[in-house]
Symmetry: C2
Amino acid sequence: MPSQYTVGVDEVTVDDAFWSPWIDRNRDVTVEYQYEQLEESGTLENFRRAIDGKSGGFQGMWFQDTDAYKWIEAASYELAKADDPDLRERVDEVIDLVARAQEESGYLDTYFQLVEPENRWTNLNIMHELYCAGHLIEAAVAHHEATGERSLLDVAVAFADHVDDIFGDEIDGVPGHEGIELALVRLYRVTDEERYLDLAAYFVDLRGHDDRLAWELDNSEEIGGASWDDGALVPAEGGGSLFLDDEGEYVGTYAQAQAPVREQEAVEGHSVRAMYLYAGVTDLVAERGDEELRAALDRLWTNMTEKRMYVTGGIGSAHEHEGFTDDYDLPNESAYAETCAAVGSVFWNQRLFELEPDPAYADLIERTLYNGFLAGVGMDGEAFFYVNPLASDGDHHRSGWFTCACCPPNAARLFASLGQYCYSTTGGELYVAQYVGGSLSTTVDGTSVELDQESDLPWDGEVAVDVDADGPVAVNFRIPEWATEATVAVDGEDVSHDGSGFVRVEREWDGERVELTFGMEPELVAAHPSVEADAGRVAVERGPLVYCAEAVDNERPLHQYAVDDDATVRAAGEADALDGVTVLEADATVPALDGWDGELYRPVGETEREESDLELVPYYAWDNRESGAMAVWHRRT
Amino acid sequence: MPSQYTVGVDEVTVDDAFWSPWIDRNRDVTVEYQYEQLEESGTLENFRRAIDGKSGGFQGMWFQDTDAYKWIEAASYELAKADDPDLRERVDEVIDLVARAQEESGYLDTYFQLVEPENRWTNLNIMHELYCAGHLIEAAVAHHEATGERSLLDVAVAFADHVDDIFGDEIDGVPGHEGIELALVRLYRVTDEERYLDLAAYFVDLRGHDDRLAWELDNSEEIGGASWDDGALVPAEGGGSLFLDDEGEYVGTYAQAQAPVREQEAVEGHSVRAMYLYAGVTDLVAERGDEELRAALDRLWTNMTEKRMYVTGGIGSAHEHEGFTDDYDLPNESAYAETCAAVGSVFWNQRLFELEPDPAYADLIERTLYNGFLAGVGMDGEAFFYVNPLASDGDHHRSGWFTCACCPPNAARLFASLGQYCYSTTGGELYVAQYVGGSLSTTVDGTSVELDQESDLPWDGEVAVDVDADGPVAVNFRIPEWATEATVAVDGEDVSHDGSGFVRVEREWDGERVELTFGMEPELVAAHPSVEADAGRVAVERGPLVYCAEAVDNERPLHQYAVDDDATVRAAGEADALDGVTVLEADATVPALDGWDGELYRPVGETEREESDLELVPYYAWDNRESGAMAVWHRRT
């Protein structure tokens, strides 16, 4: 099995009218730009200075090393899909710098090596050495899987062994920013070394009942980071204050340490960290089984999806700590909904799906990919949202690159490896989980399977899948939650189904074509009555896409439109701009302006409304034209 | 004519079931507490130190002297209505300190006298010497009118003469915080010295086209205030930054200096300052006539009332500069709507009414008094809102006193002088502008008039007015804008009228009773379509009162209620608490909770609403019981 999921990046080719342009732009624009930034930002120079044994002169964020690792990971996925000598050469050059910067002991973190070597492993809370280790390991595994080479894997193994030596022995503690847990499971899967699994389990189990993070806050003068403006733990303005409650007391919530993972009831704190943690925990459960941890994951997933998630699949309501707040607290304009958190949610949900192929996980991945994630990336591949609000007054725009460049590289590694999320061979059956055109070549429980998929999503619900196998295989086709009707036919013969979940077709396959048709009537959805931000509002969905209104398409200010619960919403053709997205048009009303001359308030009985249309475009496509207000949730009349 | 309006404080006795308890609490609780604070806060000690020629040791805000002046003004209104030897004695004691602290030159400002005597008149922008002078003059005139004594008037005259010597001669400049303009007109009216009117005109005319304020910002090292933490002009955190635009350039908007007053188009900046300025300008126009200024006032009033005013009469949308923002920008939860600004609006509108008895001014005074102003004062007379939002999540509460104690004393002087606002004798006719029980004894164009009023407002629309006069007098009775029907009868005989404005009854009066009945059907009002914050929302009014919903009275969270445009709203008796206010009950719906188990988003067609009642209390009475959410604007279904 590949290190991450049951299907490897190299087993899938994406050839899809919708997704391929994104993936191509990612490869041609984003990954290239990401590489240039390694030099531009001083990331590579940090490694060079460490190689030369220099002191000081560190550039960038204190976890800047991860920029190199994330680029290697994304580039490796590209190499896994198709060799590219130029790219391979550049990857090797960067790996060479990384490898040479590693200390004899296996330690590798250029910030501490250059700035405060005496303080390594003292500030687990903020200083992110273990987070860097996680990204190093992920990059190394991806590179090894793509190329078969061990150049970076050896570095990762040495660092992981060093971490294994230190933790649980010299130090007991867990990272303030998770990520190493899932990375260690990947490392275990390519090395078969049980100790990496043990180490992942150690970090998962210790979280929430050690007092290391609290101790660091109380002993800020003894720990690393204080001399580094951006990363200083001491000042109340620094990250450390995020670990404190209103009374200045330590609470672990920010880093999911409010309770041991197996006792946690709700998704809390920084949402990217939460997703990385729970992805790692899911990996652990997959490897070792642990009913208690599994039950905790169920509770956490249920809490997230039933009480703390935007309709776009986005997560994280508050800017302050980039994370979750309270049940049903889902403000639209001030939403955080970080692009990286959407990526993390896809990571977690795919792992959950591999553990138990519940279509709900695949439905959520689809919702997140097309909406909460995709909005994070501009249609030119050059600009990104860190934050993805569901309403805007027109002042929120994508930026080229961030000082803390986490979202663009995370988007890069997801685009580059998107094929993995389309299929699964969990439990010895094949799952067609996402309808993305292309091909799959894999083995299912020893049986070779070749599959070709054509998909008209997200604009039309027509999908055709041709399957070939050298033995009988059960293939499961997902009926998306959004399908307003669904037909499934194998070789022209309808397959009966109950309209939801997976349709299982077990048989010999010899190029049979499976044709799936999913109804895509636009639908108005409401949010739970406890969601104050969406009270009296509706969102419009069509197929997997959440739609939004933008000022540029609508004559009146957006707040003036209101939509009936039973309003007709029409697919109104392709937009001239926005790569020809299907636009929607909803019957709406706006206030009549008669009688308002000289009046600010009037008896409501004297006011009237008049008919209008509300024009809608896919949420992911917003802020790609003239800037202006945007809203996902529209008033109901 | 009295110094402020055509009817003096001493000519009216308020004896009203609604207002008298407020006025009594104001006299017994607020004014007493305000006096204690003069010692507590160091205000009197500042005067004593100045008398003793000491240096330093100044306590409180740099304009702390005004606390003494405002107390004297409020106390003087009490003395005007009824002698109170104890109060008179304490007023005399405070006046004695003020008088002895005055310098030979007439200069009086204990901050500058104690802290930086060399820097007087250098920082007109922030340091408020002219603002202090304004309050001194107002107090002195009120005291003189109440007692006939000149003890404080002489001080005010000496300071005004000093200001007159300095300004326009040694210095050209206008105050950053207005107030002296209207005060100088009051001083003119009791002294008949034309130079005070000239000085008021000077300040009004210079505003907006001198560069003094800009010069101060550019020369912060040469001006006063920099050494005083709270008042420092230099730091960006200080008040000075409020005069800068986003690019750091000086803009006069904050202090209504964006353009000469006669060219101004919209109410801008700090709303209390704006009201004080426009009140002073109105006084000037009344004295001298000035068509251009008059036209400017009309434009400004129209802009405010048609585009920049809350339904409560509150003004000022933004906390940052305590003031006006853009047309139709009227956020509810983050409203500023300072209590002092409501008081200032009453000051301005009463002056406009005296200039031209348009019922719209009296209507707005009534709306402001019962809503935007009254909410600022707790029903115990001991706690105050500085800020009056129209929606709250339950975290906004009245406080006992403020470091910057501007609102409580402003409320105090308004309550203490409320009678002045009920009547006017402008243009030689009598206007019954506000329906507040009590009596009036005045002369109208030489004719003595005695009037007794009984009023059931705001709970019922029954009013009876008995009039006696020693000659024929035209008496005008206002039909309030909110009256859903109205009858006016003199001695039992109906008077015909067109249902709005003033009903004019010119005749001999010999104790005739005028009975007025105003319909008080609850009414749902909507805001102009351009007001985003109120889109799809209604407010409920009954008579002069705006109502609100409080969490304590309603089972569901407030955001779940929705009201039909034609919903029935019932007066539902008197509340057990809140001094027996009339509560309202509106037909409403709330979302059915069925079907939401485990769902965060659902097709709107599957959701249902069920009937409920929304309970409402007068807005002014909110936050006087168990704390919780509050909303003035309710969703429409």
